[in-house]
Symmetry: C3
Subunit: 283 residues, 3 copies
């Protein structure tokens, strides 16, 4: 396995064979991609220090990278982070506070795109959650097919209500698909963040790992368990399982966007975001 | 905390502040309300001896009380019973046997109202189930957000089929939302009544308690866990989680009413109800 | 209990009483039926050696037998196999390889009929799974209300993707109704086959048994637990629980048929089926 930052095109070309002339429109800036040439498993590492917060560029990088990997016919994708103790802190909160509305709408629009791509990806996907993963970080993790959570101080969950924000229906449904109606409802109401042991107990993650390497290994095992399954059967089954959830967003993108923007612009939410940003600056 | 039977107006006024002139249209007859002035948590105790069976007056008292508490902006509501070993025995069976049809329809109509109010309440709700809670008693418990069941001889479940009655779709769906399709189906088919340990195991309740005081304390902890969550976010999340279930009834109230009335009036059901009432009289 | 192969008519007549003149149009060829005259519990044993694979005749036998038992007002039906280590190997794979299209379509059409009959049956149903039960074998087991799995080397699951086939939506939904969205999705993606202990753990079966006799006994206990529940209440509750799942197929029979036929006729699927048949012949 070779580190490939800025070398994605080369590696893809090798994977795709010499007959492939296709060039990538954009080189991802905040995402590193490694492809194991023996197994065909791609590892996509989010790399936007200090906390991998999701701004417009990172979201687009992720969306483009998943789409390219899908075309490359690799065996599957592992999503992880280059940081030692954070998977992703979620949406970049500075984008939500006193936002430029056009930019804010573009951010949400790109997040919708990313989720539709990832949740519907025609490849097996697994998240190696190597640290804190609240809100939008949890979104990324639960939109993969399989989750391995590194034991430690990291917490995983959709804690939007603690900032007065509302989890959108498609993300709520994604959570419900994994942990069921009851756990999903109470965790979203409370904005619960789960420890690795708690996340395993309620089925929010599939396995625990002692460290990132262990987590990557378990994700590889998951993806390799599909080695003999035709990709067409995987895709058709995944679509059948997730079609209702994805279709809802495809048919309600505008109202979903308006609802989130309105909820984020409420004065008490803006005030809370401001206070939160101040508290982060003091740290 | 002060006992408030017949003093609801005073306590509410205190909660709402001196500027509030609103008077209550009706003082509940079969429901006691306590509000903890420190925490803002309201405790609503059903008080219709001997078994808290749900007649038209009690159902309306409950509906009105929940609506008033919702307007009062208290922190949340605990539902319990004043009786030592019964939470609620469910619908007053004497109302179902040889019924006056108009009165029967009014009963079901009011039950629909109560469920719509309680299941959609914009406050955190918790049931301290301090004893037997079959059928309509279980309806009240599972329409709250959280359930604590006192260990002992009390049983909890939707046992309608044992009398030949059919659980309405909205109540079936409420059960499914909590314990999933499989457990809901089999428990409704069999009319299962669960012990506290069994109820905990299948997720029908969230915690057990050694006695009523312990149960109330655990319900308070649940509600206080929302102290920092804006009520608007709680309401929006709860609506998102329950909208499909509630909308069904709102759109099918008449057919739901007709179906229950018809099923209850079947000769074999009436005969069973008559035999059941006789057996109760002998006790 | 008496063995009844070829004597179904007589036994039914006895059950139905002497006033019943109805004659059966067809005597099942691949299905044995026993009715316990004390309990009214019918045991339907699939008997098509060597592996109870589902061809057109067996599927029709099963459908007709379930319909006759439903009319006979017996107390419930146990589905099992006469073979020592196989419940059912699923669809007869020789029917899928280089198929005559008309015959293939008739096969799928009859399978749709069978599932609609069994999943909607107005009697309690239980499967005593006494051995291997992949794909269509699993379909039969999960379309019953209750499952007891004999401990041993038998495996249970929907492993269609391992042959490149796609589980139809109605069967996918049946699985989801039992084990939830998450387990259903991952098991169908991977084509997982579960051991008895694994199947119990995820709720795919309700009980384990040490041998077939034990499994039959546990299924009888399940059915007898309904002795006091009116059949009308069982039927109404089951319909309410399963209506959405069954209605989908009733409204989409043609597209469901076309989709399965097309997926099975893909060259890589046909090639896989051919290789599989060769491997079976060598055994």
């Amino acid at each position: 396995m070779t580190a490939l930052r800025g070398q994605v095109v080369k590696m893809y070309s090798r994977l795709l064979g010499s007959s492939t002339k296709r060039q990538y429109a954009t080189i991802p800036k905040f995402v590193d991609i490694l492809v194991n040439e023996n197994t065909g498993v791609a590892t996509l590492s989010i790399n936007r220090p200090p906390v991998n917060s999701l701004n417009l560029d990172l979201i687009r990088d992720l969306n483009n990278s998943f789409k390219e990997l899908e075309k490359s016919q690799c065996q599957g994708v592992i999503l992880t982070s280059t940081l030692p103790s954070v998977f992703s802190a979620g949406l970049d909160i500075t984008e939500l506070y006193n936002p430029d509305i056009k930019r804010f709408e573009a951010l949400w629009d790109s997040l919708q795109d990313l989720w539709i791509t990832l949740y519907g990806l025609s490849l097996p996907t697994a998240a190696a959650i190597n640290g804190a993963s609240p809100a939008g970080g949890c979104l990324l993790a639960i939109s993969c097919d399989y989750r391995v959570f590194v034991e430690g101080k990291g917490r995983l969950g959709l804690n939007e209500t603690s900032l007065g924000l509302i989890v959108p229906k498609w993300l709520h449904d994604t959570m419900t698909n994994i942990i069921g109606h009851r756990h999903s409802e109470i965790s979203l109401l409370r904005g619960s963040l789960y420890s690795p042991a708690e996340a395993l107990k309620i089925g929010l993650v599939d396995e625990l790992a002692s460290n990132k390497e262990d987590a990557i290994g378990k994700c590889e095992n998951y993806i390799e368990s599909f080695a003999k399954i035709p990709l067409s059967a995987i895709l058709a089954t995944k679509q059948q399982s997730r079609k209702a959830t994805i279709s809802w967003l495809e048919e309600n993108r505008n109202s979903d966007l308006k609802r989130f923007v309105e909820s984020a612009l409420q004065p008490h939410v803006q005030k809370g975001l401001g206070a939160y940003i101040q508290s982060l600056k003091k740290k």
